[in-house]
Symmetry: C2
Subunit: 151 residues, 2 copies
């Protein structure tokens, strides 16, 4: 299960720097800003949200940096119901979790399931992989519905 407690941002940044380095990429101030924003968000963010939380970040640069960060395994892109891509830190930098997707406004919130549930899922996934020959890297489990704000 790894994924220590990375509430400690310095460890997060160290890990991020290491992964970027492994990808021959630098950990620039802009990239660090993006990581910081995602780390404190607690939910996947769409680009406009990232921009508004940052200080004069250029849209194109953020997009470009997100690509680099995703490539390095630091960031993960998630899709919702609207047509904004949303971004969050890679799961091994945070905590294993799933998403509550609001079909009304597109907001994505995190939630964690019980250990027992996760075990069952893991078992089922392994089973499926065996049966279908599909090489599953990871899975995603989302609940789609209406969030409190929209209800």
């Amino acid at each position: 299960m790894a994924s220590a407690d990375l509430q400690d941002t310095s460890e997060l940044h160290e890990t991020t720097a290491a992964r970027l380095r492994a990808d021959q990429q630098r950990y620039t101030p802009r990239r660090r800003a993006v990581v910081d924003i995602l780390a404190t968000a607690g939910q996947p963010l769409a680009l406009p949200e990232i921009l508004s939380r940052g200080d004069a970040l250029a849209q194109s640069s953020v997009y470009r940096n997100l690509v680099v960060l995703e490539q390095a395994g630091v960031v993960r892109r998630v899709t919702s119901t609207d047509d904004f891509a949303r971004y969050e830190l890679a799961e091994d930098l945070t905590e294993h979790h799933h998403h509550l997707i609001c079909s009304s406004c597109g907001t994505v919130d995190d939630f964690t399931a019980s250990r027992r549930f996760e075990q069952t899922v893991a078992r089922a996934v392994a089973e499926i992989a065996r049966d279908t020959g599909f090489d599953a890297h990871h899975h995603r489990i989302d609940l789609i519905g209406v969030c409190n704000r929209c209800a």
Copy 2:
């Protein structure tokens, strides 16, 4: 794999017609064509795929009809890794299933899980809903990996 023999497409079309009617919408030949294509596909289709399987369907009309069909609860929009939206028949018109998403080519295939697994999921979902107050209409469970063709 496909949903195999469309034993009774007439029932599908009847149901579809009813749902459209409930939405004050007509079941036109074009809409029927789209439903037929999705019914025989056995996997979610991107728009170009729908067009190529149809006979001179206009792109914009198909998009428009997909919106209408989705609105009426006949069609469901699913997202993959590429930037094509994909469409499939609503789950209650087919069979409860999940998706194998290829992170390489974006293809989405169907798979069904064991009854036991689904029960556990249902229980967990209810639990989450109770804890978070999130009104979950449905859930989605996808396995992301590399399909046989891309491997």
